[in-house]
Symmetry: none
Subunit: 221 residues, 4 copies
Amino acid sequence: MNERSFIVPLSMPTKRSEPQLDRRAQILDAAMICFAECGFHQTSMHDISAKAGISVGLIYRYFKNKEEVIAALAAEHKKDIAQLFERAGEAPTLLAAMEVLFTSHCCKNSPQILSAFVVDLFAEASRNPRVAKVVRGVMRAKAEGVAALIARSPEAKRSAHGLAPQEIAEMIFAVNDGTMLRSVLGPANMSANQQRERQLNVARNLWGLLFDRTSHANGHR
Amino acid sequence: MNERSFIVPLSMPTKRSEPQLDRRAQILDAAMICFAECGFHQTSMHDISAKAGISVGLIYRYFKNKEEVIAALAAEHKKDIAQLFERAGEAPTLLAAMEVLFTSHCCKNSPQILSAFVVDLFAEASRNPRVAKVVRGVMRAKAEGVAALIARSPEAKRSAHGLAPQEIAEMIFAVNDGTMLRSVLGPANMSANQQRERQLNVARNLWGLLFDRTSHANGHR
Amino acid sequence: MNERSFIVPLSMPTKRSEPQLDRRAQILDAAMICFAECGFHQTSMHDISAKAGISVGLIYRYFKNKEEVIAALAAEHKKDIAQLFERAGEAPTLLAAMEVLFTSHCCKNSPQILSAFVVDLFAEASRNPRVAKVVRGVMRAKAEGVAALIARSPEAKRSAHGLAPQEIAEMIFAVNDGTMLRSVLGPANMSANQQRERQLNVARNLWGLLFDRTSHANGHR
Amino acid sequence: MNERSFIVPLSMPTKRSEPQLDRRAQILDAAMICFAECGFHQTSMHDISAKAGISVGLIYRYFKNKEEVIAALAAEHKKDIAQLFERAGEAPTLLAAMEVLFTSHCCKNSPQILSAFVVDLFAEASRNPRVAKVVRGVMRAKAEGVAALIARSPEAKRSAHGLAPQEIAEMIFAVNDGTMLRSVLGPANMSANQQRERQLNVARNLWGLLFDRTSHANGHR
DNA sequence: GATGAATGAGGCTTCATTCAT
DNA sequence: AATGAATGAAGCCTCATTCAT
């Protein structure tokens, strides 16, 4: 009990949840970097706390255990994907939208960082049902999102080659994920931009097969 | 029994180096299963020894440490890929060859087993230079193998859509790896065969885009 | 059973025990080097077998276990000391005899090799009663041996400074052992010969204090 | 409760860095006993933790690994030697100073404890460069310390027998170390005090040779 | 006599997690 | 809210010793 107690009511009225979120985000950011660099199971809680500049114990105030940190990051990844689709939906053409989707994993930090994390996420999902559930959700969201984009896009309709939107979406994401998987090995002698270009090129080639060139000029709205 | 046996009967034709290889293979088989089930870093040496039905210490007579087991499996994987291409090269048509390639990761044990291992392998490669080297070798071998298949295939030439064999190969493998990556999450409510069909379907759709339907009937020899 | 069996009787008549001793000696030689280099407990049985060029199992045909190897070497050391005193006893003067004693640990292999072994032997003796017993025997033999040399030496009698032969012997061996203990750290930048000289010098200084200079010329018989 | 309590009562006088040192010291004390009893390489980390009454893991908060514990003890030994020389420097006569030096290894715990540790330290030094460095430092400090004592001592100057202070110092320490080496085998049937007397006697005999008896009464300043 | 494959206990070290402050 | 000392289980690896050949 100090003098301040008489001035400020015992419970502060202002934004209770803000610092909570800040701490959470701070921890998750640190964890993401560590996980991408070392993998889930090579990263120790101490690594995370050190990267976040806090104490180990504090992590446990915000996350029940290590698995919850992983799960939280998986959920975060899901949200990122959702946002990605919002951005993609605002693109003027289907191809522009695709470009947004396909370059997403190249931007946030460095090309490999996010990729390595996602590959680890899949690996973890194959063993950890909880993570699997989230990742399956991610995959579904992606598939549906792209299918929706295609469905409302005139140029896609005209050149479907007899494929259902679902099938096209699946193909697109197979290429997308495959490219990402391969990108974790990005040859050291290639700049981030070069890699990005190389990966985009694969995607563009696929689009070239899927969609009429003539439709590029048309907006898909 | 060869002619020599009649000349030097007292010494048994002894298989001295055989048990060595047997043990190695036995350990690698066990390790593969464990790694696929639990991941490299969640699998303990004891897990491997138990699965192989031997003692922990014995593993160290054949491998210097855990990393060497991983590296050996990576090398094994590389050999498997090479064999795969030999088999694919003997297929009558390009599409038949492709089918061999695309179903490879579904057969050996169970669909997910191999996939999970390979995804872990990529994850490891992104952090472990030694593994990275092997995996890069695998990727190069795959890309070159497919490019070669395409180059000598008349139906591919006719329908290249202006893409270089390298580019087509890259696309094919992006789809292949992407499919594999996604397969580690194979929905539990889908049979192995159903999954295989589903994955093959993605590949077939890509081929449909890449190659003229008319050429399907022609052998590529 | 081969043709040779009919020519050479089944049991060879010649020297049964020789190869036994050879093997034993071969193993002990190897063990001595390993022990001196790495210490008793950092040396593995495999190290010894490798140095001896034989298999691990064979060591167990000649020694019950590792401790027996150590004990055998300790016993060997005791014999070496006895031989040393025989040689010293034949020296023409007391000082010549002393020189034999004081340079013993510098000759066999390299100055440090034997020293390191002996220091380890003392360390082991402080914990292992069996080794302790042998080492105590060594110490007693040394003390008595020197005391005897002194007792029958006229120049020593003349210059005893009122010390009993036992006391002089003890002092001599304190210096001897101390010099040896310190020699295991022989500065790398000093040649084996330099070190030997340096150590001898300490001993000579002690003799200069203990014995009249005038007596050097006289034989002690 | 001291006066300060009335001025700043809310914050405890907190000893933040103290427990750190306490733990370190606690671990080192336990390690010293274990090492002396069993030797460096027969002592397990669990032995140390058990003797210290803490968990194994805690040791690693204060020491990077076992070698660091050994190195820390070696450093501690070096400090002890330095303190010893401070004490010796305050002795009224050279002989009194010598007595301080020569009885040092008999006091701290039990006669053999420290000796066994030091012998192990030398053995370790002969193989471990890091420990060697510290031990060499100890030896140099001892030699210089004694040389300094002798240099400023009138009774030593008068009776140098033509020996340089360095040479006398070396001899003294050869005797000192030799006595210590031999003391690890202290016959079980001799009391600690008897052993101490016996060892001191060797040293006294040496002094008797080195220094004039007449000078004993004089202070050495 | 000789080999070396095989065992499994035990040592060093790390790390997720808890808890007193 | 925050710290970091503390725990102890568990992982990797080594090694003395045995035994079938």
